[in-house]
Symmetry: C2
């Protein structure tokens, strides 16, 4: 075989290894949306058989990262603008629930962690480092979900963000300046520190809704191929 060297698989079952490998490839945009995934070719290039690959593709399909057209093979899922807006709405609901659950449970460590993340975002915003800002921003939002103590909520939220994938970082740029986002984070943290879950939730909803509204604008259209 030719290309068996690059992916260095080890301990776990092949299906899981392939699953996570492809997941990573898709999330990092090395596999562009719309890419057709031929089973034979893919299996051969990974140095495995079609069985585990098919199961991995099935799992990816269940998570919404690939679309399986019966008898016609798998394709990396391509999001429409409408679907992206829908995902944004659900995300808003999930994170709103998360922050309401999280605020009464936050430890002092949690709060200092949140403030640290917020401070990092301020720095990155000043440097206009959008990608670093995006990374920390995602961690910031995720912190509330983790602190909610709701395992299922956590899973669904992560799955949703994964599906929204790299479009998410681009939608951040739609906001124009990162300063507004920073200010909104500050307001949210203030409500959190004051121990007011409902106010924090309302602020968070408004915060998430910003790019969502912008998605309706015509400038957003070119984020979506096809």
């Amino acid at each position: 075989m030719s290309a068996q060297e690059q992916p260095r698989f080890e301990n776990r079952t092949l299906r899981e290894q392939v699953f996570e490998h492809l997941r990573e490839e898709i999330l990092s945009a090395r596999l562009a949306p719309g890419t057709e995934l031929h089973e034979v070719a893919l299996a051969e290039s990974l140095g495995i058989s079609r069985g585990p690959l098919r199961e991995a593709l099935g799992r990816l399909a269940a998570e919404g990262l690939v679309t399986i057209r019966p008898r016609r093979g798998a394709v990396v899922t391509r999001f429409t603008q409408q679907e992206f807006i829908e995902a944004y709405q659900v995300r808003e609901a999930l994170e709103s629930l998360a922050i309401r659950l999280a605020v009464p449970r936050l430890t002092d460590e949690d709060r200092t962690h949140l403030h640290t993340l917020a401070a990092q975002m301020v720095e990155h915003a000043e440097r206009d480092d959008a990608s670093a800002f995006f990374r920390v921003n995602r961690e910031f939002h995720r912190a509330f979900v983790l602190a909610s103590g709701n395992e299922r909520l956590c899973d669904m939220h992560e799955q949703l963000l994964n599906q929204m994938g790299r479009l998410l970082s681009k939608s951040l740029e739609l906001r124009g300046s990162l300063q507004q986002s920073v200010a909104e984070h500050r307001d949210i943290l203030e409500a959190v520190d004051a121990g007011e879950p409902e106010r924090a939730a309302r602020l968070l909803e408004a915060h998430i809704e910003v790019p969502s509204r912008l998605l309706d604008s015509p400038e957003a259209a070119d984020l979506f191929e096809s």
Copy 2:
């Protein structure tokens, strides 16, 4: 082969047929939680090979209906009390979003349909027909999700309710009398007819929260085996 007669599979791919068959078996509680699913035996009893069966089990695992223990086989998922409470919280958030999206979009047909369902629930409550009440109740809640126009929300909601499965109908009985539920539905519909999404959402949240609170009580513990 011996047992190829009972399940009459036809057109679609085996994987999907098996998937939906097992899904139905689990949701109808013909397969009790905790049941071990041996691949060879199951495949033989269905008159198929292990390949499609494994893929179907993988999909069921992704939907949370079965749990796959590596190298140890698949088991029909057994919910803990904690997990059920978590699912209830997420459900509340999803339906709250759904009704807020749905109210401004409701057609006249939608409203009459909702009132029809509410009327049916009144009847079933008077007859103390809990199972019929439960069925209509589920349809009532689902109506809002469908009317939200958010496809993804719809999928996630259905998946969540499926996972909660038959515990859901039992949790309804925790309410004690069905009358309170009927009254809450009436209040919700009133807010819906008045075109007040926020009030409807708050009422719906309170409505869903009722069994959720009861789940903490010790009487609820015996709903969960293990």
